[in-house]
C-alpha cells in the first residue's frame, strides 16, 4: 500500500477550479450542461410529483375532517381557565404611582369587554332562559347557524368599567381580574348543575395578603345557558361568560399568589400536570409608595 503524495495547496485549488468549471469537457461542477438540464428536469418532475402526492393525501385527509367539530376532543376533556388582562407570566402588576404600568391592562380590558356592551349584545344575541343549556340541534339542516345568549357588560357590576373613573379599580389599587373558561365545542359544563368560580390565596400567607374580594356576577356564578359552544364557524356571535373578581384590599408591595378554580361537577381541577385545568393561578402585586 503506497501512500499518495500529499497534495499542495495550489494543486487542491487547481482541482477545485477544474471541478467548478472544466473547460476541456465543458463540465460545471462535474456535469455537462445536458447532464445538469436532465438533473434539474428530473428533480422538477420528482418534486412536482411529491407535491401532488402530498396535496392529494392532505386533501383526502381534510375531507374527513368536519367543519364544525374536530374529529377528536380528548385533549380538551377539562377546559382550562384563563384571566384577563392577559399578562406576561400571568402577573398583574399595578404600580399606583406609575399610570403606565396599569394603563396597558386597562386598554386591554376595554378592548376585551367591547363586545360585551349591552347594545352589542342586545343587537346580536338572544335572551336565554337562565339555568338551562341553550341547545340548538341541527334538526336535519346541516350546520345550521347557531344563536348565542346575551352576556351583558353590566352584569359585571363594579368591574364593568362603564362610567368608571377608577379604571376597573386599577387606579385605586383595587384591580378587577376577569376569569374566563376556555371554549370547548359541545362541552356541557356543569352537567346540568349550577357552577361557580371561587378564588383563594395559594398558601396561607397569600390568603392573608389577599384580603377581601367581590365577585361579579354574584358568587362567581356561570350560567348553563352559555353552553354548549358550537364552534367559531357556526356560533359566530358566541359570547364567553365571564367572572370578574375585584380585589378590595390586597396587601401592597408583596407578591400575592391567587388561584381561582371552577366548581363544576364535570370539571376536575386537580390535574397534576396541567396547572390550568379548571383553574388559573396568577400573581397580584400592588406597588404603593408608603
Amino acid at each position: 500500500m503506497v501512500n499518495e503524495k500529499e497534495k499542495t495547496g495550489g494543486q487542491v485549488l487547481e482541482e477545485w477550479k477544474e471541478f467548478v468549471w472544466n473547460p476541456r469537457t465543458h463540465e460545471f461542477m462535474g456535469r455537462t450542461g445536458t447532464s445538469w438540464a436532465f438533473i434539474l428536469l428530473f428533480y422538477l418532475v420528482f418534486y412536482g410529483f411529491l407535491t401532488a402526492l402530498f396535496t392529494l393525501t392532505m386533501w383526502v385527509m381534510l375531507q374527513t375532517v368536519s367543519d364544525h367539530i374536530p374529529t377528536y376532543q380528548d385533549q380538551l376533556a377539562t377546559p382550562g381557565l384563563m384571566i384577563r388582562p392577559k399578562t406576561e407570566n400571568l402577573e398583574v402588576l399595578v404600580n399606583l404611582s406609575d399610570t403606565k404600568s396599569w394603563n396597558q391592562h386597562v386598554q386591554i380590558l376595554d378592548k376585551f369587554l367591547e363586545p360585551y356592551n349591552d347594545s352589542v349584545q342586545a343587537q346580536k344575541n338572544d335572551v336565554c332562559r337562565p339555568g338551562h343549556y341553550y341547545e340548538q340541534p341541527d334538526n336535519g339542516v346541516l350546520n345550521y347557524p347557531k344563536r348565542a345568549c346575551q352576556f351583558n357588560r353590566t352584569q359585571l357590576g363594579d368591574c364593568s368599567g362603564l362610567s368608571d373613573p377608577t379604571h376597573y379599580g386599577y387606579s385605586t389599587g383595587q384591580p378587577c381580574v376577569f376569569i374566563k373558561m376556555n371554549r370547548v365545542i359541545n362541552f356541557y359544563a356543569g352537567a346540568n348543575q349550577s357552577m361557580n368560580v371561587t378564588c383563594a390565596g395559594k398558601r396561607n400567607e397569600d390568603a392573608k395578603n389577599l384580603g377581601d374580594f367581590t365577585m361579579f356576577p354574584a358568587n362567581g356564578n356561570i350560567d348553563l345557558m352559555y353552553f354548549p359552544y358550537y364552534g367559531k364557524k357556526f356560533h359566530v356571535n358566541y359570547t364567553q361568560p365571564l367572572v370578574a373578581v375585584k380585589f378590595m384590599n390586597v396587601t401592597p408591595n408583596v407578591e400575592v399568589n391567587v388561584e381561582c378554580r371552577i366548581n363544576a361537577v364535570n370539571i376536575a381541577t386537580n390535574d397534576e400536570r396541567d396547572k390550568f385545568a379548571g383553574r388559573v393561578a396568577f400573581k397580584l402585586r400592588i406597588i404603593k409608595k408608603t
Partner: protein, 977 residues
Amino acid sequence: MKKNSEVQALRQLGGLTSTRVAELLAQNGPNVLTPPKETPEIIKFLKEMVGGFSSLLWAGAVLCFIAYLIEFSKDKSASMDNVYLGVVLIVVVILTGIFAYYQEAKSTNIIASFTKMIPRKAFVIRDGEKREIPAEQLVVGDIVEIKGGDQIPADIRILASHGCKVDNSSLTGESEPQSRTCHITHENPLETKNISFYSTTCLEGTATGMVINTGDRTIIGRIALLASSVGHEKTPIAIEIEHFVHIVAGVAVSIGIMFFIIAICMKYRVLDAIIFLIGIILANVPEGLVAAVTVSLSLTAKRMAKKNCLVKNLEAVETLGSTSIICSDKTGTLTQNRMTVAHLWFDNQVYQADTSEDQKDQIFDQSSATWASLSKIVTLCNRAEFAPSQESVPIMKKVVMGDASEAALLKFSEVIMGDVIERRKRNRKVAEIPFNSFNKFQLSIHETEDPDDKRFLLVMKGAPERIMEKCSTIMMHGQEQPLDESTAAAFQTAYMELGSLGERVLGFCHLYLPEDEFPDTYSFDVESMNFPTSDLCFVGLISLIDPPRSTVPDAVMKCRSAGIKVIMVTGDHPITAKAIARSVGIISANSETVEEIAKRLKIPVEQVNKREAKAAVVSGMELKEMSPEELDELLTYHTEIVFARTSPQQKLIIVEGCQRQDAVVAVTGDGVNDSPALKKADIGIAMGCVGSDAAKNAADMVLLDDNFSSIVTGIEEGRLIFDNLKKIIAFTLTKNIAELIPFLIFIIAGVPLPIGTMAILFIDLGTDVIPSIALAYEKAESDIMSRKPRHKKKDRLANHQLALYSYLQIGILQSVGGFFAYFTVYAVQGFKPDRLLYLRPLWENDSLNDLEDSYGQEWTKYQRKYLECTGYTAYFVAVMVQQIADVIIRKTRINSIFRQGLFRNKYIWVGIASQIIIAVILSCGFGSIPILNFTTLRVQYWFAAVPYAIVIWLYDELRKLLIRLYPGSWWDKTMYY
C-alpha cells in the same frame, strides 16, 4: 549416503519420550514468544468515545448544558429537559462507544486467532517415531528435522545437515544464505555454523538438529525483536468510513451553523437557536451507524474463517473484493496436488481412469490378462507405503511415504485390488534397484505367491523409452508376442498421445526368471546385476497427472464473468500447464494460441496476427527475453495467459506487469521464494497446507484448503461486504433528512415542532439499529459476480449517487410522509394546517393558556404540549413505517426485491419486527413518561404514512427496473449507487 545413514542413526535414537516431553513442557512452558504489549485497552476504549460522530454528540451534550444554564440563570425554575437530553446524549456516546469497542475487540480476536491458526509445524522425532507437531509444543532436547522453506521452530543445534542453508537476515542482517553444518566453527553461538535460530528460515537443503532453547529463551526471544512487527494500519474500509463520517459531520455542522445564524437573524432567542443547533446536529448524526458497520465487519471476518480463508486483516477482504487479476499457481491450487493415474495403455488400447477427488469408480476393462500382469507390476515394483495407524482413513486421504508417482500408483492399485501391502508380503521381495535419474528405471525381484511356481519374477517400471529398449516381447491379451514394427509404432503413438496431454508416462515390463538358471537359493546382487535386464516383456503404459480440483472450473468461470482475469503461473512444463489450463477453463475451449492458429492455417508462427489469439502460453525462457513493453502488450491483448516453466523471480515480474495495467492483483504462492511476489501483490495469498512459513508471513491471506475456489469465495465476500456497507449507509442516511427537515420547517415556517430530539434519538438508536445490522446479513445480489471489479479510487463507498438518492429523493419523500402524519394528528384535534403556520411564538408561550384552534376552542399550554408530543409520535411512527419500506428497498441495489427474495434474509424481518415493537412500546408503554415525549397514538394514525411507504417501494422498483433496462444510460449513471 553417509549423511543419510547419520539421519537414520539419529532416528533410531528415538528422541524424547512423551512423558519427558510433558515434564519439560510443564517446566519451561510452550515454545512461543510472549506477545508484545499492545495499546492499553483503556486507550482503545477512550478512542471509541471521542472518534467519529461521538465528538459531535459530546458537542451536542455540552450545548444542552449551556442551554440549561442560560435558562437557569434567567429563571430558577427552568425545566430540566435540556439536562435530561444532555445526559441521554452522553449515555448514547458511552453506550455506542462500548458497543463499538466490544465489536472491534471481537473482530480483532478473530483476526488474532487467524495468526495463531496459521499453523507452525515442526517435524520431530519422539518415541522413536517421526511426527508432525505444532511448533509450540517443542521442548529442549527434541530432535527436529527441517527442510528448505521451513521456519526454524526453535534454537537448534545441527546434528546432521544436507546442504542446509539458512536466511539469518532478520537476526544478523546477513543477506547471504548461511550454510549450516554440524561442526562448531566459533565460540560465539551467533557466529558458529552449527546453530540455527528460531524464526529464521531454512532456504534449502535439509538438516536434523536438537532443540537447545525454546520460547522466550531463544536468541530472538531474548532480544525481543519481534515486538515491532505488530503494526496497526487503517484499512481502506476504515478510511472510506472515516471519509464518510467527515462528510456527514461537515454537513451537520454547516447546516447547524447556517440555521443558527438564520434563527438569530429571525430574532429567535439565542437559547432557542442553541436548541435548534442541537436538534440539527442530532438529526444529521447517524448514531447507530457505527454499531451497524462494526457488526457487519466482524460478521464478514467470521464468515471468511468459515470458508477456509484466513485473513490477516479485514483490509484484505475488501481488497480481495476489488481484485481484477488473479495470478494463480497450478500445483495444489488449481490441481489436487496429488499425482493420479489418468490413463492406461495395454492391449494396444488407451483406457481412461477416474481422476476425481475420491476415485470411486474405475470403469476401464479389467478382465484382460494383461491387466492382471500390469497390476502385479504396479503393486510390486513400488516402494511407497501407507504411513502407519490410519486404517480408518479413506484410501485417497491416506498419507503415503514415498514419491508422488509411486503414491499415485499405490493408491490406484489399493483402490482396485485391495490390500497392496498384503499382496507384497505374499510376493516377497528379494532384490531391488531404486529409481535414479541415471537409470531412469526401477526394478525389483520377487518370489511369486504361487507356491508351485518357484520362478522369480522381475518387475520393472520407468521412462517408457528406456523400458521399451529393454524389451523384446510385448504382452497382448495375456500372451507374449514378439515386438514387431507395428506394435512399436502403436506404442510410440500411445506414448506421444499421453505425453501431449501433459501427463507423466511410465512404462511397465516384467520377466519370469527361468527356474533352472535362478533357483530359489540364488543370491541376487544389485551392485553386479547378476540377472538379466534385457529381453523383457513389455506390459503397458500408465500415465499420471495432477488432476484439476473438481470445483476449479466453476470458480474460473465465475472469475471470468466477474471481470477477473485468471493467469496461471507455474514451474511446470508448458504442455502440462496448457492441458490443465484447458481443463479448468483458464484457456477456454474455443480460444487458440498463436501456435495453434499457425498450425491450423498452416502458416509460420511469425505470420499469425497475435491479436487474433486470445490465449497465450509463455515459457519462462520467452518471458526472460521480453521487454516490459512486450510484457504489457502480452497482458493487454491476451485474455487467457499461462506462464509455464517460470521461476519465482519471474512471478514478481508478472505481478509488476499486471500492476502496470492498473489492476488489483491477487497472487498465490507457497514457496519461500514466492514471498517477494506475495508482498508485491495487492493481495498475497499463501497456501495453508503446503505453504512455507515465509510465504504465510508475507501473505495477506492464507487459504486453509489450498483451493482456488476459496479465493473466488473470498472475492465474493469482499464484494458483498462493500455492497452491504453501502446498503447500510444508504438506509441510515435516508432518515437523516426526515429528521432534519422538521427543524428547518420549524424555524422557517414557525409551525409547532414536528419531531423532538428524543424521538430522533429513538429512531437512530432504537428502531433503526436492528434493521441496519440486518442488512449486513443480506445475501449477494445476482450481479455480484457478473460486474466489473471495483475501481479502488473511483468507486467510493459513499458516492454522490448514494447521497443524492438517499437525501434528496427517498429522504425528502419520507419527510413529506412524516409531515402528512403530523398535519393529520393536528387537524383531527382542531389545528388545521393553515392555523399552524407561524403559530410558534404563541404555541410555545407558557403563560398563554387559551390559544384558539381552527374551531375556536381554546387550549392550555399543557394541552398543546401533549398535542405536540402526539405530533412527535405521529412523525416518529411515520418515519418508522417508511423506514420499513426503506430497509426493504435497500436489500437490493439493482435487482427487483422479488428476485432477491423477500424472505431469504430472515434478519430483515427481525429488524422490521423490532422497529414496530420498539415504536409500540414507546408509544403505548412509555407514553406516560413525560421526558420521553411520546404519547399513545390512535391506531389509524399508525397507517398515515403507509401510502408513502408504498410509494417509496414502487419508486425504488421503478428505479431498479430502469437501471436494468437501460444500463449505461443517464438514469443508470445518476441513480445507481
